[in-house]
Amino acid sequence: MATLRAIFAHPSGRIGGAIVALYLLLAALGMLGLTPHNPLMQHRVERLHAPDSTYWMGTDLFGRDVASRLMTGISQSFTVAFFSVAFATVAGTVFGLAAAWFGRRWDGLVMRIMDVLLAFPAILLALLIVAVAGPGTWTSIVAIAIVYTPIFTRVVRGPALSLKTREFVDAARTFGSSSSYIVTRHLLLNLVAPLTVQVTLALAWALLTEAGLSFLGLGTQPPAASLGLMLSDSRNLMETAPWLMIFPGVAIMISILGFNLLGDALRDVLDPKMRRSIA
């Protein structure tokens, strides 16, 4: 509760929080079907209709309302981004901490496995998962999560190695704190800053990777919409119907602004050093 209040006290936290809340609201409305038009309804006489008072963001190749599709697209994209980043963060943090803390052989083993994963072409991975499980939302989530796990592992391991040797960890150790206490209490808290930034970066990446997967037919399946699919579908219509590219593009941009501002605020609020300096 205190954290939440602190975020609202933070200027970027207020703006970022408002943006994210707005998106969540739009996504919820989209999910509940409370959109200006039916996002799947094809108004075929009004194909590629420029934005006007009926269709606020125009219509697409099928005469579907872009504004409505944007709302359902946000809920789809957010689902994929949140879940994939959450999986990758948890897995990456666990692996990264384990590698840094246990060192030696564990470090080598974990990091080499991550090398294998990093070297593996994401497309091949997605093809494989699709072949086994069929295309769809969860396929995208799993594929993106596996792609980003090694990144989180490395991001956590680097600073963790550095922190491990810092005075306060040594101090804690001499006071007889247990390993698990030190890892969770000291290391993890000090990793919040790099992690939150990485999470906000990864959320942006996840939104865009989903676009790449959709582009190859491995992501969200039509006629459902995701911000990425809308963008990649718009590429050959860029000159004919620019609004098809502009609105999803801007939607992604603002959502990422929201994530970033909120992330910055979180970082400031959660960072123990910052807390000390504020106190």
Binding site: F120, R154, D264
Partner: protein
């Protein structure tokens, strides 16, 4: 360097995983070549083609054969190029390496100063400006950026870098840079945005650290604190990120290579996967994995250089 000794083991792991993965995906070299016409083949014809592509044996025998070849320095023959895999890869690699280096240079030259500037002007208007630009960079898919650049240049100015035939840097350096500049800017934009954010955050983090504050209270100038004390520490996350991004770029940038029609590794791997050129997929993934490990090794060495307190466990 005990680390180097683990390389073959990792590569072995990579090769088995890739070998199995590509064979588990439906479709094979025959359907890739003939498409739906493959249905016109008699079973005998199919067997003959399978023998031709070397996919007529159980997978472990195929793998064993491939592994034996590998020890003789032979990665196999690519079915699309009809040439040894290693030759094809090495032909594509200089472009990929050059593009990755160029993008990283652009990213670091733009991103680092921007990040440090934003950190030292925390929560001021100029900080906000830098952050907004970084945010745009981060959130623009590179295919959108590439298409916008190409459209603006060709429709607006009537110019475009020479597409199609790529000139290696040792043949025609001017043409080479002309061809790579826009793709590098396209890739570098997002990369720079990440560097900006990471370095800003790391810098803020370090600036609030005890020893920096101590140094400051001892009367070291703000500039001195930033350059001598804060920067080396703030560099660690930047190095991590750059290492990962650079490693990724060495694996090829598929979409950017597609749009700018550059014959790099990324397109080659994608085409090899789509055309089920098994030998080429295996060889190139192995090659990319090797590069990753080298880059990671360099990154780890950089940690040691930046923060002498870190001792790599292997040492």
């Amino acid at each position: 360097m005990r680390r180097l000794a683990t390389f073959p083991l990792v590569l072995l792991g990579v090769s088995i995983v890739v070998f199995l993965a590509i064979r588990m995906v439906p479709g094979d070299s025959i359907t890739a070549m003939l498409g739906t016409e493959a249905g016109l083949l008699t079973p005998q014809q199919r067997d003959a083609l399978a023998a031709y592509f070397g996919i007529d044996q159980p997978w472990f025998i195929q793998y064993w054969r491939w592994l034996l070849g590998l020890f003789q320095g032979n990665l196999g023959i690519s079915s699309t190029y009809g040439r040894p895999v290693l030759g094809v890869i090495l032909e594509r690699f200089p472009l990929t390496l050059e593009l990755a280096l160029l993008s990283m240079i652009i990213a670091l030259l733009v991103g680092m100063p921007a990040g440090i500037f934003a950190a030292t002007h925390n929560e001021k208007l100029s900080d906000l400006g830098v952050r907004v630009v970084a945010m745009i960079g981060q959130s623009t898919p590179n295919f959108v950026l590439a298409l916008l650049i190409i459209y603006t240049l060709s429709a607006g100015f009537g110019v475009l870098p020479a597409m199609g035939e790529f000139s290696p840097i040792w043949q025609d350096p001017l043409r080479n840079i002309g061809q790579l500049l826009l793709p590098a800017v396209t890739l570098g934009f997002a990369f720079a945005a990440s560097v900006t954010r990471i370095s800003r955050s790391a810098m803020l983090d370090v600036l609030s650290d005890d020893y920096v504050r101590t140094a400051r209270s001892k009367g070291v100038s703000a500039r001195g604190v930033i350059w001598r004390h804060a920067l080396p520490n703030a560099l660690i996350p930047v190095v991590t990120l750059s290492g990962i991004e650079f490693g990724y770029l060495l694996g090829g940038a598929v979409i950017v290579e597609q749009i700018y029609a550059l014959p790099g590794l990324g397109r080659m791997v994608l085409d090899a996967i789509l055309q089920r050129d098994y030998a080429l997929v295996q060889g190139s993934v192995l090659f990319i994995a090797f590069n990753f490990m080298i880059v990671n090794l360099i990154v780890d060495l950089a940690y040691v250089a930046l923060d002498p307190r870190i001792r790599l466990s292997e040492h």
